[in-house]
Subunit: 677 residues, 2 copies
């Protein structure tokens, strides 16, 4: 290329570079100042990843700050959520409506700038992150959702990428390993992760604990990997382009310097999770040549970030135009879109079974009905499909070859399953469920909690819900699980007792929009009730199943028919027991006091009956009540033997109640405060 060397003007790149460099430094200095002001937080990561963020956001990612949650936007997940100030700065500078005042109130009560990002899609926070590995794994779910919707609705309406920033901590977490293996297996080609290889952890250099060959490991999973200097922006451009051109999920391994530009703390653990300190902040300002006071950003920097959003705004407009044209051309497509994207308020028929049936089997039948009514229903199991009854009949397994498949095969990867289900539900357009044995809810608890914290409407199908799964024994028999899940805020736990209750549990789960629902199901068959309960009663969380005048037996799931049969034994001995089925503590707690006092009147003594720990049931029974449960680990035996050994037969339950009633304390009045969890 010919140049005219006699002209003394600076080359235009220099001006560009200057504002680009100052914009990158703005990301850094905002993090430095916010962390310093809060006197807590993590500035080192934003300082180290600012170059990567600037390139990705200004040149690649397609977002629209005017409509942060438009369905076909690219997704961006900050899996290393401790670097939250990087995200807040990007959102603020790019015009997402996160005001400077919020950045100044970083980590303060009531701010939108919590220590770790909290799900707020209308300002561009795609999910809550912080517990390491969750963002990594949930973003795999987002890419699955994109691939499926792309197949279902066509690339004109759905065609976007999923990006995540991930750290060494993310890569060390098992949930990320599971998700990486799954993403490679599914060949999610629109997934681009940027790994902040800064070689520093809280404890010190990563080589204290982490010396694996990351590129080889991800290559073994089937990922494309590319190495890059994380501070060389032209090279970053190329690396991201290479990742996005690959037909595999991609990991950009970016060698960065934590606390970049901090004269004393760059490349040290001290830069990881502590404020730099007032003196060091001054030195950082000098190093960057940044002479503005905290939280003052020049207009041209705002302009630079805003202009980086033009591609996204334009893409959004083009998408909107395509959508209008497509809907005009095909009214069925518009209906189909709505079926995915508009909230369903489903009423599902109660499946009819003759004789005994396991609640997991009922659930399997209900899934077919929901799948027929709701095209966005997808889900699967952690390699227990035939046991969990989670298969959507007549649909493929989701795969690279069959992205239209609605059956997700998670493999023996419960934790990733939880996070992936969260990611699918956060993505929008789909409702995803994940199933395993109730015992293995332990393995996925990190993801379950995050669904509750975010209010993600994930659906957890947990079967084999008590010692009555039988021969598999104590390793597989839940004891404390119902209690430990009921203790979690915003998770609804449904333990249905029959086909009607299973149906209501599923309706609750599907129609819930502000949090997750667990549906807890039996392995063993239960007798079907002669008179099915009213759905309206079931929805109240607890209801009188069979009335009686001497005491109340409160039971859940498989113990409801047991309680009913025990009541028959008691009746024969002149004792009249009311049976209350309580499929959901949460739904019952949401009823008014009057209803609760009708179901559990203070005048009646209370027995609780559940094949699990009695922990927690004191809030129902009162101190004087009788709690029948299992407060020890299980046993390997056929379930009828376990029931006989541990007093879960009608006769044994009745006997225990009679013995208790014969004690003076049992019939003393309860407090009027009948259900105060």
């Amino acid at each position: 290329m010919a140049t005219d060397e006699s002209v003394p003007c600076p080359p235009p790149e220099e001006v560009t570079l200057d504002i680009e460099q100052r914009s990158v430094d703005a990301l850094r200095i905002l993090a430095v100042d916010a962390v310093q002001r809060a006197e807590s937080g993590h500035a080192g990561m934003p300082m180290g990843m600012a170059d990567l963020a600037a390139v990705l956001w200004s040149e690649v990612i397609l977002l629209d700050p005017d409509d942060p949650s438009w369905p076909d936007r690219d997704r961006f997940v900050l899996s290393n959520g401790h670097g939250s100030m990087l995200l807040y700065s990007l959102l603020h500078l790019s015009g997402f409506g996160l005001e400077m005042e919020e950045l100044e109130n970083f980590r303060q009560f009531g701010s939108r700038t919590a220590g770790h990002p909290e799900y707020e899609p209308n300002i561009g926070i795609e999910m809550t992150t912080g517990p390491l590995g969750q963002g990594f794994a949930a973003a795999v779910g987002m890419a699955i959702a994109e691939a499926h919707l792309n197949a279902e609705l066509g690339p004109e309406l759905v065609d976007h990428r999923t990006y995540a920033f991930v750290s060494d901590g993310d890569l060390m977490e098992g949930v990320a390993s599971e998700a990486a293996s799954l993403a490679g297996h599914l060949n999610l080609s629109k997934l681009t992760y940027i790994y902040d290889d800064n070689q520093i952890t809280i404890d010190g250099p990563t080589d204290l604990t982490f010396s694996e060959d990351v590129a080889a490991r991800f290559g073994a999973y089937g990922w494309h990997t590319v190495d890059v200097d994380g501070h060389d922006r032209p090279a970053i451009r190329e690396a991201i382009a290479s990742a996005n051109e690959s037909n595999r999920p991609s990991l950009v391994i970016a060698r960065t310097h934590i606390g970049y530009g901090s004269p004393s703390k760059q490349d040290t653990a001290a830069a990881h999770s502590n404020p730099l300190g007032v003196d060091e902040v001054k030195l950082v300002r000098e190093a960057y040549g940044w002479d503005l006071p905290p939280f003052v950003i020049p207009e041209d920097v705002y302009g630079w970030f805003e202009s980086g959003m033009e591609r996204g705004r334009s893409a959004h407009r083009a998408w909107e135009a395509r959508r209008v044209a497509a809907f005009a051309a095909d009214a069925e497509l518009e209906k189909r879109w709505a079926a995915f994207y508009e909230p369903a308020n489903l009423i599902i028929d109660v499946p009819v079974f003759e004789g005994s049936v396991a609640t997991r089997s009922v659930s399997g039948a209900v899934i077919q009905d929901i799948a027929a009514a709701l095209p966005g229903l997808v889900g699967g199991s952690g390699d227990l499909t035939p046991s969990n009854n989670t298969l959507i009949e007549g649909s493929q397994n989701f795969s690279a070859e069959h992205p239209e498949g609605r059956n997700l095969r998670f493999g023996v990867r419960e934790h990733a399953m939880g996070a992936v289900v969260n990611g699918i539900n956060l993505h929008g357009g789909l409702r995803a469920y994940g199933g395993t044995f109730l015992i293995f809810s332990d393995y996925m608890r990190g993801a379950v909690r995050l669904s509750a914290l975010m209010g993600a409407p994930s659906i957890w199908i947990w079967t084999h819900d008590s010692v009555f799964l039988g021969e598999d024994g104590p390793t597989h028999q839940p004891i404390e699980h119902l209690a430990s899940l009921r203790a979690m805020p915003n998770l609804w736990v449904m333990r249905p007792a029959d086909a009607t209750e299973v149906t209501v549990a599923w309706e609750t789960a599907i129609n819930r929009t502000d949090g997750p629902t667990a549906i807890v199901l039996t392995r063993q068959s239960l007798p079907s009730p002669t008179t099915p309960p009213e759905r309206a009663d079931v929805r109240r969380g607890a209801y009188i199943r069979h009335d009686g005048t001497d005491l109340v037996i409160v039971a859940t799931g498989s113990e409801v028919p047991l309680a009913e049969r025990a009541a028959e034994v008691l009746q024969a001995n002149g004792i009249s027991a009311r049976i209350v089925s309580m499929p959901s503590w949460e739904a019952f707690a949401a009823q008014d006091d009057a209803y609760r006092a009708v179901v559990l009147p203070p005048s009646l003594p209370v027995v609780t009956l559940e094949a699990g720990t009695t922990f927690g049931w004191g809030a129902v029974s009162g101190l004087g009540g009788l709690r029948i449960g299992i407060d020890h680990f299980g046993a390997s035996a056929p379930y009828a033997v376990i029931a006989a050994e541990w007093g879960f037969t009608p006769e044994a339950v009745a006997q225990r109640i009679e013995d208790w009633l014969s004690q003076s304390s049992a019939l003393s009045p309860q407090s009027s405060d009948t259900f105060d969890r």
Copy 2:
């Protein structure tokens, strides 16, 4: 080699092969028959891994059936515990004292042959397995224990290998990925895992979900890998030899056929977790040429397995001789051995702090004292060493270069940490602890539960135990965790309030031999009591800290000093509150009724105060009691702000109690059943 072809005798190998083959088939047929008889279980894996097991047990592993738990034995972990019948058959045939009657009672109530193996070292079951990945990861802990004790006590006394059988399910689990990365980093060269690459899972072919390059992945972690045909016994011999010669952890990737020899079910998911069926069992017998009835094994097969144990018996005798000679030569060595291997009954001084101190800091000081008294104490944190205060000062980080190091650097691998700590404690000779934030107990719950189920005396150090960790926000603030852990059988949860209580918590943990202990600690400083409590009181789990006549406030941890200050406010208003500190529900539940009635007399109304969910506290407060807690997720803010916002100040607590006392129900008598969890 010259041979004389004129001699017609069969070559001796043929006879050998015949009995070897029949012995291998005996392993298979016992599994087939036991599963068929139980009508549940997994025969496919034992059929597929029998050749591998036979070679390992008859030619390589050093075990002594006469003393299954001698300290320097090799360790064998069946991580794919669903194939339990393989282990039971090996133990039975090799003379470990597991009788045939037990095999006939496979999966029956009260048998020693549960569906999944249960820890019983005196018959050779090194750990409980079944939840996939746990055995894989715990065996890494066993190898760490070996390496450390080898360095501490010398190779004459400690020099053994750790073997595990692992499945595709194990390899898919995140906990195994974490442990594999750690094992590679630590270069645990005495670890040999045999991977049952049978290409079948419960859902179908593994390629439904699992297509990674396992050899490349483990190579990336730093492992040696070797491929082998899992039914070619000479090749298996060579592969195990190659693994054992390697100076890295090794994975033998054995291509096997699940349900080997079953004419209709070999290589199918049907062979995974179902009995073969009576007809197929007949066909299997024909295929093996096995004409004996179920549970009848020829004497020569017993003889073959018994003779395989001769190497181990001989090694044990040689070890015993070395030990006697070494102790005779060096009395200090004998003492040193005893210091590791004999149970400590430690009494630890209470560290003295002026003014306020965080209980995590007290714990850090107590660890130094225990480390000085107990050379077998080792432990560490999941990359939160400076936050968890888990460092043993003056000791190295454990590594290949410094196997004598007592500080374990687990990286951001909480679940593997849990399993590794279990493995170290199961190994014997050491007492291991693992630390992280309380919130991340969720990530390690699978391992924590297994410690409780096995009765392994693992010690869990969980700091940052409430919303009062402050700015890190809801992702890091436990709410339901104390309840969810108290609900777990056999886990003791200690939440101490001051230096004395921390010391007693550590004493409890260290002196406990039949299960795990969680020590739950504050991030924030707490005022030190003017009069420290008596240790004997603290040991009872709950005790009167400050007496009063109008009501009882029961508090734990950081809420104990809060309760004390609230009581001062109440006192000024003429209300006399008894303060009960309850550092351990489990210890209190173990007291007699009389003591419990003294602490919580039925005549006094009860307020419970804990900065976490109120779930569970109904068993202490009764229905009429006041439970002050936090039944929603946390917030990102300085801790004093959170305390003020949510009523955790002395004034707010006092006011809430006064308001409640003014209600008529509060002062009604409680039931006499004062603590019935």
